[in-house]
């Protein structure tokens, strides 16, 4: 006998891992093949923010919280428009694929426009439901560069990774750290957003929309700059180096350009990948971490104080403390593993943080860092 009802049939979908692991669940979203680096997040809310976060480009995102999609998906604009709507960190799903235990086929939240399933299908992104996400976290922790492939039972093609990468990503395992993926998520043309007293040059390595929102809310105007912009040609009061995906060493000439910026005096704030780039530009080194920080509950504290903040994080590289040049000092540390979570120049107005002061999703304890930055620019 069977208890299946008429609408219960979902296609099977398999996750193949580079260590030989193989798990089968049900497909949601688009029936397309995808591949990428296996990562996870332990955040219990904020799935639409995470999926659209450009830092997850090329990564297969495992949600450890087992119930995903409960409050549905708000209406997504086709492109970046003002005012920027909440719930999204870019205009598309950037994660290569998503893995969850249980999805919510229906959504009832007042702000929901569609279900996770229909959204993923519309976005051309495959997902697998019904896998043991807790077990996958154990596997990811055991092999830090675990790669995965998502293979639907009957796929109609490959997920789109943009013009330069789709071909590479569709063959076998795709390791985003071996490619210049910032290019795939950075804006293609310079664009001025908002109107304000001061202009921030925002170097887009895959910027989260909430960084832009936060700057606009604080009365700045933002010039969004492609990652390979000639920064010397930009007229702005301060720089913000954004978050983004991949190995900071694969950001090409950007480090050299930032090295030029720190010769000057205009304030600089780096966030996540931007923090690593600033550190590299200052002459420090970055390392691949044994265990990345991928959650909304990362405790950091300001060096030489007893004051902590709970932060949202998603990174697999870290600034090597011992390589920090004399003119710089650690600003924040992680309370658990004592790794560097922020640096600042001892004299000049340059600083950066490994975590996300703009949050979305996750706790908003460190919004004051953006306040401080904007205040400094304005005075």
């Amino acid at each position: 006998m069977s208890f299946k009802g008429p609408k219960d049939d979902r296609q099977q979908c398999t996750l193949m891992l580079s260590d030989g692991g193989r798990f089968t669940g049900d497909l949601i979203g688009a029936p397309l093949r995808a591949s990428g680096q296996m990562v996870f997040t332990t955040g219990m809310v904020g799935y639409s923010e995470a999926m659209t976060d450009p830092s997850y480009f090329g990564q297969i995102l495992v949600f450890t919280y087992p119930l995903i999609g409960n409050y549905g998906i708000p209406s997504l604009p086709r492109a970046l428009e003002l005012p920027i709507p909440h719930g999204f960190e870019s205009d598309r799903v950037n994660a290569a694929a998503v893995i969850l235990a249980i999805d919510s086929p229906e959504a009832f939240h007042w702000n929901s426009f569609q279900s996770l399933h229909t959204w993923l299908a519309q976005q051309g992104v495959p997902g697998i439901v019904g896998l043991d996400t807790r077990h996958l976290v154990h596997l990811i922790r055991q092999s830090p560069n675990l790669l995965g492939r998502v293979i639907p039972g009957e796929s109609s093609g490959t997920r789109d990774y943009g013009p330069k990468l789709t071909a590479v990503a569709s063959e076998g395992f795709f390791d985003p750290s071996q490619h210049d993926i910032v290019d795939a998520v950075s804006v293609k043309e310079r664009r001025l957003l908002g109107k304000g007293k001061v202009r921030i040059g925002l170097v887009d390595c895959g910027v989260k929309w909430n960084i832009i929102r936060q700057l606009l809310e604080r009365g700045c105007e933002v010039e969004l700059l492609p990652w390979d912009t000639d920064l010397a040609s930009v007229d702005c009061s301060a720089w913000l180096l954004s978050n983004g995906p991949g190995d900071p060493l694969r950001t090409g000439n950007l480090c050299n350009q930032v090295a030029q910026l720190i010769e000057g005096d205009r304030p600089i704030l780096g966030i996540c990948l931007g923090h690593q780039i600033l550190a590299l530009a200052a002459g420090a080194k970055t390392l691949r971490m044994q265990y990345g920080h991928r959650s909304h509950n990362q405790p950091v504290y300001q060096v030489n104080t007893r004051r902590g903040c709970i932060t949202s994080q998603n990174h697999g590289y870290v600034v090597d403390e011992h390589s920090l040049p004399e003119a710089w000092e650690p600003w924040f540390r992680n309370a658990n593993d004592q790794t560097i979570e922020g640096i600042r120049h001892k004299i000049k107005p340059f600083r950066s943080v490994q975590f996300h002061p703009e949050a979305a999703g996750g706790p908003r304890d460190t919004g004051w860092i953006l306040d401080q930055f904007v205040n400094e620019v304005m005075t």
């Binding site: 208890f3 007042w110 077990h135 509950n297």
Partner: protein, 1114 residues
């Protein structure tokens, strides 16, 4: 060492006074044993000496351990001052004993007692506490920091309340200040309803808040911790399944929130942080919100700057040891330097990431309180709760319902409501509304319609629909299979072909094996006229074995998952476990090389099972650990110490069902299971477990059966020549009539396997007999009704002990103050016995020895006796630890649970043969009632248990111990006047003695007509009162008015007969007494003892010198 400089510089171990919460009552229950016990542990770790004031003798925290001095005294400023004067503590900690402790702290501060003795208040300041407690000040503070609060007005008179309500606009919510569990709160839609709430609320509280009603909004809570450095973390948030309007203690609560977006989650999290920062909270704080279900708008409802029921739940739900960390924080540590003991590698400064969902479901016992309204609102009514952990919502909620109902068929067992009653059942929240929601789904009502009636979020409803859909499919599929008369063959035919994915789907949705078997068997019964046999519990249990086997053949077994606070991000040695079918792999558990023994806990607290059984289970677990075993606890009650991460070597926070215990035994392969420590629930599972091949440690299955099976037990007593009240197991009306013709009335009627007197009744005549039989389950051979002779005027004696292979190793005799007829759980008990003849005690002990041999008792046990003169009769024998174990253990200084455990595992416990001899003190245990919360319930003692907790105190004499324990149970020395209404002639006669005591104390006596006549006839001056509503101008005053106007503060009302009446005058008097805060006694023996003690100790409060509970004798 503590970091606070005031304590650091003492140059010796700081003495810290810790306040407990007193006896368990509705709104303030076992959660404070959890928080207090963790606080004790943290304080000891920091090298402090702990002085604990708490009269709750059944708790784990009141174990007189090394460096812990226990004072079993009421948590009230006068008594605490005496303890302070005797002990000179350096500091006081009040955040771990609920509202009782906070109120006491505030009073100690206001009366300058803390300043006088130079006692430092650790934790949140008194000024802040007062601000958070005073709703006006709180609202003002919130507005000051830009936090939205619903418009409200604090009032002190009814007139002001009416004006405020008119200004704010009905409906309004009425809240009493300084109240635990929302006492005296409620919704009012008009002036009349307003008055009915405000008048009694103002009788108990100086101030009442009239507030805008936000019915239907989402209710969300955040648990926050702030340290002295200003570091703040959010442990977790929780969302109520039931929208605002039902007290959170009566709501199904889901952790973490399921229907909140990141924006909503973070907005409320930020607000919570701003609030605790602005209030400068140090330690734990709970923040409650109302959230608009259609926008980001929210209101702050209240905050609790202390450990609470919610924080206990949050602690168990998240795995974060909130109370332990909070205790370290109040000693001055900051969160950045404290290690998270659950991971051992990360710090206390972080926010737990959950990778499962937990659901708390309250346990109500409203059926036990005759007359109590079953409507839920803003006054809490539940007596306990459970928490279920799953990886899908249906899995967790189905577990939860099995846990709370203790019914193997889970929520499928409650599908009777007819469709016509549904709309009303949905619109008016009661303790059974949840089942009405399921029934509506079974009747294919759409989610919109149910939502419109209940305002329950549609996401929850959709998840419940998944359950009813699967239920229906199982029934339909089963209905297509023909039942040929053999259940096993039938179930094989139905489920034999079911593939693994479908099994997984059913099990991931939380279906139990018994539930699946029952659904199929019911479907067959409905479809076949040949099968008229009733679906018995036994048949379902046997059927479930077939289901279990078929499922296991397909490889579908539950997985063991860890709760590690980091969702697997860090490796964790956590021993906090649950089981789920959502997933593919079990977590790796470290092998400690020890042999496991499983200890079954108590399940939900309810009337009859409370913290005392948790004390037994915790004692047992610790004793096992000491002896080198791996102690494995199974329990599902978040209010317990046994479910703390450090009470066992492995904790399965799991359902106490046959299926799940077998799953755990298959995984753990234990040497055996101890089922005799957790009370009635594990005891009930013992025989089915043994039948399924599990080895029981302690009493053998034969012993348990002989003790529980009335016929077997009775036959053994006959054989041993021990007398017992005459009885019959009636399976027909004819049996009943025959028995009555032999013994006459009154008789006691009860079903088999009785739990705290459920459905127990006394019948005094054929009319009440017919009523009682109608209330009992239908008489049949499956469910015989036991009817026994009911002895009036007999004393009740209990014997608690430990036996080994049929020989009693030790036993303690205790005596009830009330005559037989009061449930043993509601009786006032004394150790050592005060009024028994030496010969009676000798006969009790001799009978106990024979019974121990006759049953071959092998573990903890309790025997209850009746005695008239020296003639004794045995009522029952419990082959398990009993409710009285912690009380007698602490009074005699011998831990009976430890001794029983040592004996069970083959060690020789250090024992005393007659431990109650040669004690320097007397111990009295008194019941604690919660009638103030149960509108409509008749607060009278009878054969059905009604107390929600107990207190126990020691004194140098019986009188001292009695006065203390009664005061701790809120029965205080009268100061204004005494109202007496003694029904039967015999009771009036007994009262004469008391009357002279009260007269000597110059207390005016008030009495109703009959009693007044009697007293006057015997020469007492008495104010004659009229029956309720019969007072006349110029004539006698209405009895209720005397209570309302506060002319009396002690009400003695003894009902005419022990059976329940409809709302009689007596019941109205008793209800009024409770409602208006009078001490109430409904039993004449207890009244006499109380009056005598009052008379002999006229200045007790000032003359008594406090004594600490001596440590256990070794």
């Amino acid at each position: 060492m503590p970091i606070r400089s005031e304590l650091k510089t003492l140059g010796r171990a700081p003495k810290v006074l810790l306040l407990g919460s007193g006896g368990l009552s509705i709104g303030q229950a076992g959660e404070f044993d959890y928080s207090g016990t963790q606080a004790v542990k943290a304080l000891l770790e920091e090298g402090c000496e702990v002085i604990l004031v708490n009269p709750n003798i059944a708790t784990v925290q009141t174990n007189p351990e090394k460096n812990v001095k226990v004072y079993l005294y009421p948590v009230e400023a006068d008594w605490v001052e005496k303890v302070i004067a005797a002990e000179h503590p350096d500091a006081i900690v009040a955040g771990f004993g609920g509202q009782t402790a906070l109120n006491c702290l505030i009073e100690l501060h206001d009366r300058n007692i803390l300043a006088k003795y130079n006692v430092l208040n650790l934790g949140t300041s008194v000024a802040t506490l007062k601000m958070t407690e005073d709703r006006d000040l709180f609202a003002h503070k919130m507005r000051e920091i830009g936090m939205p609060v619903p418009s409200s007005k604090a009032v002190t008179t009814l007139v002001a309340a009416e004006k405020a309500a008119a200004d704010i606009g009905y409906p309004v919510i009425v809240r009493a200040a300084y109240a635990l569990g929302g006492l005296g709160s409620g919704f009012a839609s008009n002036a009349k309803e307003l008055a009915s709430l405000v008048v009694p609320a103002l009788a108990n509280s100086p101030q009442v808040l009239i507030e805008k009603s936000l019915k239907g909004w989402k209710e969300v809570e955040y648990e926050v911790m702030r340290d002295g450095e200003g570091n703040i973390i959010t442990i977790c948030n929780m969302e109520n399944f039931d929208p605002l309007g039902i007290h959170t203690g009566d709501s199904i609560v889901v952790c973490p929130s399921q229907t909140l977006s990141d924006d909503e989650y973070q907005i409320l999290r930020n607000a919570a942080q701003q609030i605790v920062e602005a209030c400068a909270i140090v330690g734990e704080c709970n923040v409650q919100y109302a959230l608009d279900p259609f926008s980001h708008q929210f209101f702050v409802i209240e905050i609790n700057a202390r450990l609470s029921r919610s924080s206990a739940l949050a602690s168990k739900a998240s795995g974060y040891p909130i109370a332990y960390v909070a205790a370290k924080v109040v000693l001055g540590h900051d969160l950045l330097e404290l290690i998270n003991p659950v991971t051992g590698v990360t710090y206390a400064y972080f926010e737990p990431a959950l990778d499962y969902v937990t659901i708390k479901v309250p346990r109500w016992d409203l059926v036990k309180f005759r007359g109590a309204s079953r409507l839920l609102g803003s006054t809490m009514k539940s007596v306990g709760e459970i928490m279920a952990i799953g990886r899908s919502f249906p899995e967790a909620i189905q577990k939860a319902i099995r846990m709370v109902t203790e019914h193997g068929e889970g929520l499928s067992a409650f599908s009777q409501t007819s469709e016509s009653e549904l709309a009303a059942a949905l619109a008016n929240p009661t303790d059974t509304r949840f089942y009405a929601v399921l029934n509506a789904l079974r009747h294919s009502w759409d989610i919109e319609k149910i939502h419109a009636l209940t305002a329950i979020d549609k996401w929850f409803l959709a998840n419940l629909r998944e359950i009813t859909t699967l239920e229906q499919r199982v029934s339909e599929a089963a209905g297509r299979t023909t039942h040929h008369g053999d259940d096993q063959a039938y179930l094989n035919a139905v489920f034999g072909e079911l593939d693994a994915p479908m099994w997984r789907r059913l099990k991931s949705a939380g279906f139990g094996d018994e539930q699946i078997a029952a659904l199929a068997l019911k479907a067959s019964t409905e479809n076949s006229e040949k099968l008229t046999q009733k679906l018995s519990e036994k048949r379902v249990q046997i059927g479930s074995r077939v289901v279990r086997e078929l499922r296991k053949q397909k490889g579908v077994v539950p997985l063991i998952k860890k709760i590690d606070t980091t969702a697997g991000e860090y490796p964790s040695p956590s021993n906090y476990l649950y089981m789920s079918y959502v997933g593919m792999f079990s977590d790796q558990l470290p092998d400690d090389g020890k042999k496991p023994i499983v200890v079954l806990g108590s399940g939900a607290y309810r009337i009859g099972t409370s913290v005392e059984f948790d004390w037994c289970a915790v004692s047992c677990s610790r004793e096992l650990q000491k002896a080198g075993w791996r102690s494995v606890i199974i329990n599902c009650n978040p209010e317990t110490v046994s479910t703390d991460y450090n009470s066992s070597d492995r904790l399965y926070f799991e359902e106490m069902t046959l299926e799940r215990i077998l799953d755990i035994c298959e995984a753990e392969q234990p040497t055996g299971v101890i089922a005799c420590m957790g009370g009635q629930l594990p005891n009930k599972l013992a025989l089915p477990l043994a039948a399924a091949g599990v080895r029981l440690l302690g009493h053998s299955p034969e012993t348990i059966d002989k003790a529980e099976n009335r016929s077997l037990f009775s036959a053994i007593l006959d054989k041993l020549g021990i007398d017992q009240p005459r009885w019959v197991a009636a399976t027909s009306q004819a049996d009943v009539e025959k028995f009555i013709s032999e013994v006459g009335f009154p008789v006691l009627i009860r079903p088999s396997y009785v739990l705290s007197g459920a459905a127990m009744r006394v019948a005094f005549d054929s009319e009440s007999l017919a009523q009682s039989l109608a209330l009992a389950v239908d008489i049949s051979t499956d469910y015989p009704v036991v009817i026994s002779e009911f002895l009036l005027g007999a004393r009740e004696i209990e014997l608690d002990g430990v036996a080994k292979d049929g020989e009693i190793l030790t036993a303690v005799v205790s005596e009830h103050i009330e005559n037989a007829g009061v449930h043993s759980g509601d009786a006032t008990m004394v150790v050592p016995a005060q009024r028994l003849y030496v010969e009676t005690v000798r006969r009790v002990r001799a009978a106990a020895r024979l019974i121990a041999r006759g049953l071959n008792l092998n573990g903890p046990f309790n025997i209850q006796f009746l005695a008239r003169q020296n003639h004794i009769k045995v009522i029952e024998c419990n082959a398990r630890a009993a409710r009285s174990f912690p009380f007698v253990s602490k009074v005699v200084g011998l831990n009976l649970a430890d001794a029983a455990t040592a004996s069970i595992i083959g060690n020789k416990p250090a024992l005393l043969r007659f431990p109650e001899d040669d004690l320097p003190h007397v111990g009295v245990k008194a019941p604690m009632f919660s009638f103030t919360r149960l509108a409509g319930a008749d607060p009278v003692l009878g054969v059905e248990m009604a107390s929600t907790g107990e207190v126990g105190c020691i004194g140098r004499s019986f009188d001292e111990a009695l006065l203390l324990s009664l005061e701790a149970a809120k029965c205080r020395r009268p100061k204004k006047g005494v109202l007496v209404s003694a029904g039967p002639e015999s009771e009036k006669l007994k009262f004469l003695e008391c009357a002279s005591f009260f007269t000597k104390m110059q207390l005016p006596l008030y009495a109703t007509a009959g009693t007044a006549d009697y007293l006057e006839k015997h020469g007492f001056a008495v104010e004659r009162l009229a029956w309720p509503a019969e007072g006349a101008e110029g004539g006698p005053v209405d009895v209720i008015r005397v209570i309302k106007e506060g002319l009396v503060d002690l009400v003695i009302n003894v009902p005419k007969a022990l059976h329940h009446q409809e709302l009689s005058y007596g019941a109205q008097i008793r209800q009024a007494a409770v409602q208006f805060g009078c001490s109430l006694l409904t039993n004449m023996e207890a009244t006499i003892a109380f009056a005598q003690a009052l008379g002999r100790y006229p200045d007790f409060a000032s003359s008594h010198e406090v004594i600490a509970l001596p440590p256990y004798r070794s």
